[in-house]
């Protein structure tokens, strides 16, 4: 997910010296070898073609220097029908035994990368697949790459549950989204036991000592009731002058909170800036520019894709009173009806997005679509 474009531009201008110093050593701490993965979930690109891969089962993020850095400004239009069947063919399995966990586009080369699960059981094999500009698919060989690994801090170590012998810890935190921001990797997670949503920030390049910031995410529904809230997807975004995150919770609203709120142990509440209606299960969100304005594009499992305006978002009132009768308050949005069945979404280039969407039968298609 290319969530850093706008930020990168802003921060490079404001902090040119710092950025220049950082730019020299984004691969600091990386070794050459074969990274181990127990699973591959959310993906995100960092600077210089460095791909960040979240591994929920290993509770770690792996950064891979892909060396896929030949710049392309405008990507070729792409349509691969039945990409799930084709990847299944490549990996020697049937399409129903293949899961596409995430898809991101390298903002430099415009090549798409997919996190694949070959198999659907506990012994599923994670595979990274790259789609080259001509539509050719290849499994990215990870036998000899430059990589580094960041372990998630505060992963619980307790879990000796009875039976004498030490059993594996049943508690797991599913990583639902990651993004690179400035000098950190942001990670949203949901536990499979306690009902808790966390947002962690770990410094990048990864340091050996786990020194992450972890905050709890709360949802203030209409200012009255406050509960812990599951974050599904988020993007960094500048609201006015304030670097912020825009997060889509699983229970409907779009919220905004300043990055400066990410203090250790903090409780982040977020200002609701849009109510997106019922049956909203956000999947993926990107920021893009059209006619000089910023928009959010939010893929939703049941309501298609929503194009949300960011006009005046810095002055958006907190949505306090219940919004009834199907009305909406906060940022305006429109549903893009022709974008049906979108499972994965990322920016392809300045004019286009790349999506994975459901096609005929059980096919999933990878195709480029002009940004609405």
């Amino acid at each position: 997910m290319n969530t850093t474009y706008r930020f990168a531009m802003t921060f490079l201008m404001l902090g040119a010296l710092t950025a220049a110093l950082h730019a020299a050593n984004w691969t600091e701490g990386m070794k050459e070898g074969k990274p181990e993965f127990k699973s591959m979930g959310p993906l995100a690109f960092g600077p210089e073609g460095i791909l960040l891969v979240a591994d929920t089962k290993a509770a770690a993020i792996t950064a891979i220097a892909t060396d896929d850095t030949a710049p392309v400004k405008n990507a070729k239009a792409l349509k691969i029908e039945g990409i799930n069947q084709k990847i299944a063919g490549l990996l020697g399995t049937s399409a129903d035994q293949l899961l596409i966990n995430d898809m991101v586009v390298n903002p430099i080369s415009r090549n798409a990368y997919l996190a694949i699960s070959r198999g659907r059981g506990p012994d599923a094999v994670p595979v990274l697949v790259r789609v080259k500009a001509g539509g050719e698919l290849e499994a990215v060989s990870l036998n000899k790459v430059k990589f580094s690994r960041g372990e998630l801090p505060d992963a619980p170590v307790d879990g000796v549950v009875g039976q004498g012998n030490r059993q594996s810890n049943p508690r797991q935190e599913s990583i639902t989204d990651i993004a690179f921001l400035e000098d950190r990797v942001l990670i949203a997670g949901l536990s499979n036991e306690e009902f808790a949503s966390t947002l962690r920030a770990i410094p990048f390049p990864f340091k050996t000592v786990g020194s992450g910031t972890s905050v709890e995410i709360y949802h203030g529904a209409h200012g009255k009731f406050e509960t812990r809230a599951p974050v599904r997807t988020f993007v960094p975004f500048k609201v006015g002058n304030q670097p912020s995150l825009l997060a889509a919770y699983t229970c409907t609203p779009l919220v905004q909170f300043p990055i400066s709120d990410l203090q250790p142990g903090a409780k982040i509440k977020g200002k609701t800036v849009a109510e997106l209606g019922n049956r909203n299960r956000p999947l993926d969100m990107i920021v893009y520019q059209k006619d000089g304005k910023d928009y959010l594009l939010l893929a939703n499992s049941s309501r298609g894709v929503m194009k949300i305006s960011t006009d005046n978002i810095e002055n958006a009132e907190k949505i306090e009173a219940p919004v009834g009768g199907g009305g909406t308050k906060g940022q305006t949005y429109e549903t893009i009806a022709r974008w049906t069945g979108v499972d994965q979404l990322d920016r392809l280039d300045a004019q286009n997005a790349l999506v994975v969407r459901r096609g005929e039968g059980n096919s999933l298609n990878l195709e480029s679509m002009p940004l609405p």
């Binding site: 069947q85 063919g89 990996l91 059981g121 549950v161 009902f195 009255k224 509960t227 299960r281």
Partner: protein, 378 residues
Amino acid sequence: MGWLAIFSPIHAAENSNFSIRWVTNSNQSIVEAAGFDTNTLRQFQSTNWQAADWQKLLSVYVGQDDLPADMSAPPMLGSYRVEANSIYFQPQFPLQRAVTYRAIFRPSRLLGANNSAADLVARFQLPPTRQKPTTVVTRVYPTADVLPENLLKFYVHFSAPMQGGHIYDHIRLRNEAGKLVELPFLEIDEEFWNPEMTRLTLFIDPGRIKRGVQPLEEIGPALETGKHYTLEIDSAWHDNAGLPLHEGFTKSFRVGPPDREPPAPATWKITAPEAGTRVPLAVEFTEPMDAALALRVIRVANSAGALVEGERALSDREQHWRFTPHASWKAGGYQLQVQNTIEDLAGNNIGKAFEVDLSEGVQRRFTNGVVKLPFDVQ
């Protein structure tokens, strides 16, 4: 076609010696293409062919040959080697049962552009498993028959590892009229399994239980006090061996009023065992607690603060917790340590309800901490 030039022309009479077959040994199925003369084999060994080059000569595909999808299927990943008088292809990943694999050997690629030697095809399929379905749902927590209206989650336990992906196709909640409750669960791609995939956590969609949230106002709560519901798991769900469940599972329950009270360990009843025995420490909660958390975040420590090793268990609708030490109890002071992340069935934590009503003005502080309840063993 430049690479064809490295091979000396092969006499047409030798075409009939080409063959292709699948070979299985020690659980691996590989493809063997044979019939080359020694010159050709020597040339193979001295080339620096990449996978794409080998694939022109010998490649393997998943599926039948007639479907349009298969016409554009990419060749399977694997490794090629030259050994004895043959070329071998070994798939990179284990073959899947009951799937047809089609190996194609194209000797015409060796014989020059004009040769019309036919491709040789060998199909292979691992037999479907002879096993019968045996996996079942062993238990669903909470086990109580009456659940609060603001129930937060279910845990579904299976007798063997399962397959994930599209799991919500197999899980349904039905109301007392037999109609399906629409989208009661939090359905996101990241499914909440334990690492072995024998336990699944199902969260009721928080938007369907929280007050003052728009979805609730539009489509109503998932559960309503006084009504009956049935949770259904259907048997079409495949386990990791690819077999359906031996049978489906249902849990019927009635819904009671919402629970908005945080658990209060001070009200729990602790029955201390006698010294010198291994009789379990018994703790009676005032309400059923979340099964996974009750088994994980409650510990027993001795007077020195060291954790006592033993087995924890729940019973009586997860209202009764007991701890059996590995070694006999020594007389002295102990502590029951409870992390305040423990939840009751509605997700209320110690000191903090799931929903905090800010209009009440009572700011409930939530600290990451441990509640310690002392008890004596005599």
